[in-house]
C-alpha cells in the first residue's frame, strides 16, 4: 500500500529542495554577474591588450588598461608563498601526525586553528607595522612595502590550511603500511617519509592547491604590505596583485576604469575556478 503524501509533506519537500538549490544558485549568480559585468571592458580594450598590456594607467589622460603586471604579481606572489609556506607547513603536519606525542600535538593543533582564524587585516597590520620597516632597514630600501613582504605574509597565512589538510591525509594512512615497513627494518623516520608520505600524496597535493587558492585570493592583508603601485613585479618593487587592483581603485573608479576593474575580477575568478577544478579532481582521486 502506497502511503498518500500529505500536503504538508509535499510543501516541506519542495522547501528543502529550494534550500538545496541555494548553493548552485549562488555560484551561477556570481559567475553570470561577473561575466556580464566583466566582458564589456575587455571588448572595448581588446583581449590581448587587456591581458598582455604591460602598463596600467587608469587615470591618465590617455588611459592604459594592461593587467599583465597584476597577473604576474599574483602568480609570482603565490609561487613565492608556496615555496616558503609548503615545506614548513608540510613538515609541521608530518610532525603533528607522526612524531609529536598526543599531548604535544594537542597543544600545537589549537594554535594552528587559531592561526587560521585570525582575520586577514590583523595579518596586514602586523606586516605593515613590523615586517615593512624591518625589510626597509635590512635591505636599505626607500620603502619596505614590496612583493617580498607580501610573499612573507602570504606564506604565514597559508600555513594553517596546508598543515590541517596534510595532517588529515597523513593520519588516514593505514597502520599496516607503516607496520610492514617497520618490520622490514626501516627506521621510524624512513617509514614516515618513504611510506606514509607517498601514501598520503594526493591529500598533500590537495593541501598545496588549497594554499594556492588562498594565496591568490587574499586581498586585505597584502594591500597593507605590498605598496600598491602598478609596477611589473620585482622582489623589492612596490606591486599590485589582481585582488588589490580591484580593492584599491573601486572606491573612486567610474566609467571604463570601473568596468576594467570588473574585468580584473573576472580574470581572478577564472584563476580560482581552474584551481577549484584541480582541487576537486585531486580530492576525488583520494576517495576513489
Amino acid at each position: 500500500m502506497k502511503q498518500k503524501l500529505r500536503p504538508l509533506e509535499v510543501i516541506m519537500n519542495v522547501l528543502f529542495l529550494l534550500c538545496g538549490l541555494v548553493a548552485i544558485v549562488f555560484v551561477l549568480f556570481i559567475s553570470i554577474y561577473l561575466i556580464l559585468s566583466g566582458l564589456p571592458a575587455i571588448r572595448e580594450i581588446g583581449l590581448a591588450d587587456f591581458l598582455f598590456g604591460r602598463e596600467w594607467a587608469s587615470t591618465a589622460a590617455e588611459p592604459k588598461f594592461g593587467i599583465l603586471p597584476f597577473i604576474l604579481t599574483s602568480v609570482y606572489g603565490t609561487a613565492g608563498a608556496i615555496l616558503l609556506g609548503v615545506p614548513v607547513g608540510f613538515l609541521t603536519a608530518v610532525f603533528l601526525a607522526k612524531i609529536a606525542s598526543p599531548r604535544l600535538a594537542g597543544l600545537v593543533r589549537p594554535a594552528v586553528d587559531l592561526l587560521a582564524g585570525i582575520p586577514s587585516v590583523v595579518y596586514g597590520l602586523i606586516g605593515m607595522m613590523v615586517l615593512v620597516p624591518t625589510v626597509r632597514e635590512l635591505f636599505h630600501l626607500p620603502d619596505g612595502a614590496s612583493l617580498f613582504c607580501a610573499i612573507l605574509v602570504l606564506a604565514v597565512m597559508i600555513l594553517p590550511s596546508i598543515i590541517s589538510v596534510s595532517e588529515t591525509a597523513l593520519k588516514a594512512v593505514p597502520r599496516e603500511y607503516e607496520e610492514a615497513s617497520l618490520a622490514l627494518g626501516a627506521t621510524h623516520i624512513e617509514t614516515v617519509f618513504r611510506v606514509s608520505v607517498p601514501a598520503a600524496s594526493s591529500g598533500i597535493a590537495a593541501s598545496i592547491v588549497l594554499g594556492i587558492g588562498r594565496a591568490i585570493g587574499e586581498a586585505m592583508a597584502i594591500i597593507m604590505v605590498a605598496g600598491n603601485v602598478a609596477n611589473m613585479p620585482g622582489l623589492f618593487q612596490s606591486v599590485r596583485f589582481l585582488t588589490t587592483a580591484v580593492a584599491s581603485e573601486m572606491a573612486y573608479a567610474s566609467g571604463l576604469q570601473r568596468q576594467a576593474l570588473y574585468s580584473i575580477a573576472l580574470v581572478l575568478f577564472l584563476f580560482i575556478m581552474l584551481i577549484n577544478v584541480i582541487l576537486n579532481t585531486l580530492l576525488k582521486r583520494k576517495k576513489g
Binding site: C19, A23, L34, I99, L114, V121
Partner: protein, 289 residues
C-alpha cells in the same frame, strides 16, 4: 635486529637531518604564533579601555571609541545568521534526507566547494553590484549581511550535513515505522540529535563574519558613527558603517591611528580565541553523545 646490524652512516644522517627539520619547522610555526599573539596583545591591550569600547569617536573631544563598530559587527552577525540558519540547515537536510539522485547531490556539493574557494573580494564586488546598486540598498549593513550570507552558507551546510550523517539510520527507520511522516520524522528525531553540529556551524560562521573584511569594504560602508538601527524600518535597512575589521583597516591605512588599530586587533584576537574554544567545546560534546 637493529642491534646486530647497526644503521649505515648514510641512513643515520638521513634520519638525523629529517628529524631535525621536522622539529625545526614545528618550532618555527609555534614561535611565529606566539610572537604574533604576544605582539598584538602587548601593543593592543593597554589601549583597550572602558571608554574606548563604550563610546563613539568624537572630533570635538578628540577621542576615539569603537562602540559603533562593535554594534555594526553584532548587527552583521545576527542578520546573517537569521538568513543562513534556515537556508543552510534546509540545504543540508535536503542533501542527506531527501535527495535521491547521487549525481545531483554531487553537483550541489561541487557548488558548495566552489563557493568556499571564491575569494572574499569577489563576493564583495558582486555584493556591491547586486545588493547595493541593482537592489538599491546603497552601502548598508543589510547589503553587507546579504553578501556574508553567500560567504558563510557553505560552512553551515557542511557542518550540519556532517552531523546529520552521524544520526543512526535506525532512528529514522523506527520513526517512519511508527507511522511518522518524513517531515515529522526530521523535525522530531533527526534535527534534535544533530543540534550540536548546527551550533558548531553557527559558531564557525560567526568566526568568519567577525574576521571578514574584503567582502564588507564596498558593501557595508566605512562610517564610524552610531547608527540607530531600530528607530524605523528605513533606519534598519539603510544604516551603514564599518565593522571592527574594516575599522581596523581604516584606522591603520587612512588615519594612521596605530594604537587604535592594535587595540582593535587585540579585541579581534580575543574574539577569535573565544570562538575557537567554544566551537571545540561544542564539538567535544557532540562526540560524547
Amino acid at each position: 635486529m637493529r642491534d646486530m646490524q647497526p644503521l649505515s652512516g648514510r641512513r643515520k644522517a638521513y634520519d638525523r637531518v629529517l628529524r631535525f627539520l621536522l622539529y625545526f619547522c614545528a618550532a618555527l610555526t609555534c614561535t611565529l604564533l606566539v610572537l604574533f599573539i604576544g605582539y598584538i596583545f602587548v601593543k593592543g591591550l593597554p589601549h583597550v579601555t572602558w571608554s574606548f569600547i563604550s563610546s563613539e569617536s568624537s572630533f570635538i573631544r578628540g577621542t576615539i571609541g569603537i562602540l559603533p563598530n562593535i554594534l555594526n559587527t553584532v548587527y552583521l552577525v545576527v542578520v546573517t545568521l537569521i538568513f543562513i540558519l534556515p537556508l543552510g540547515v534546509g540545504a543540508a537536510i535536503y542533501l542527506t534526507e531527501y535527495a535521491s539522485n547521487r549525481r545531483f547531490v554531487a553537483v550541489i556539493e561541487f557548488a558548495t566547494e566552489t563557493l568556499t574557494g571564491i575569494p572574499s573580494i569577489i563576493f564583495g564586488l558582486v555584493g556591491m553590484l547586486f545588493f547595493c546598486q541593482r537592489l538599491g540598498l546603497q552601502a548598508s549593513l543589510l547589503a553587507g549581511s546579504l553578501t556574508l550570507v553567500i560567504v558563510t552558507i557553505p560552512t553551515i551546510i557542511r557542518t550540519t550535513q556532517e552531523s546529520l550523517k552521524t544520526v543512526p539510520q535506525s532512528y529514522r527507520e523506527a520513526a517512519l515505522g511508527l507511522g511518522a511522516g518524513k517531515w515529522h520524522m526530521i523535525r522530531t528525531v533527526v534535527l534534535p540529535s544533530s543540534v550540536d553540529g548546527i551550533v558548531t556551524g553557527c559558531i564557525l560562521s560567526v568566526g568568519r563574519i567577525v574576521g571578514e573584511s574584503a567582502a564588507l569594504l564596498f558593501t557595508a560602508g566605512m562610517g564610524m558613527s552610531l547608527n540607530n538601527y531600530f528607530a524605523s524600518v528605513g533606519n534598519f535597512i539603510h544604516s551603514s558603517g564599518a565593522s571592527l575589521t574594516v575599522a581596523l583597516y581604516v584606522y591603520a591605512r587612512e588615519r594612521a591611528e596605530f594604537d587604535v588599530a592594535f587595540a582593535i586587533a587585540a579585541i579581534l584576537m580575543l574574539l577569535t580565541l573565544v570562538i575557537n574554544l567554544s566551537a571545540k567545546l561544542v564539538g567535544r560534546k557532540l562526540k560524547k553523545t
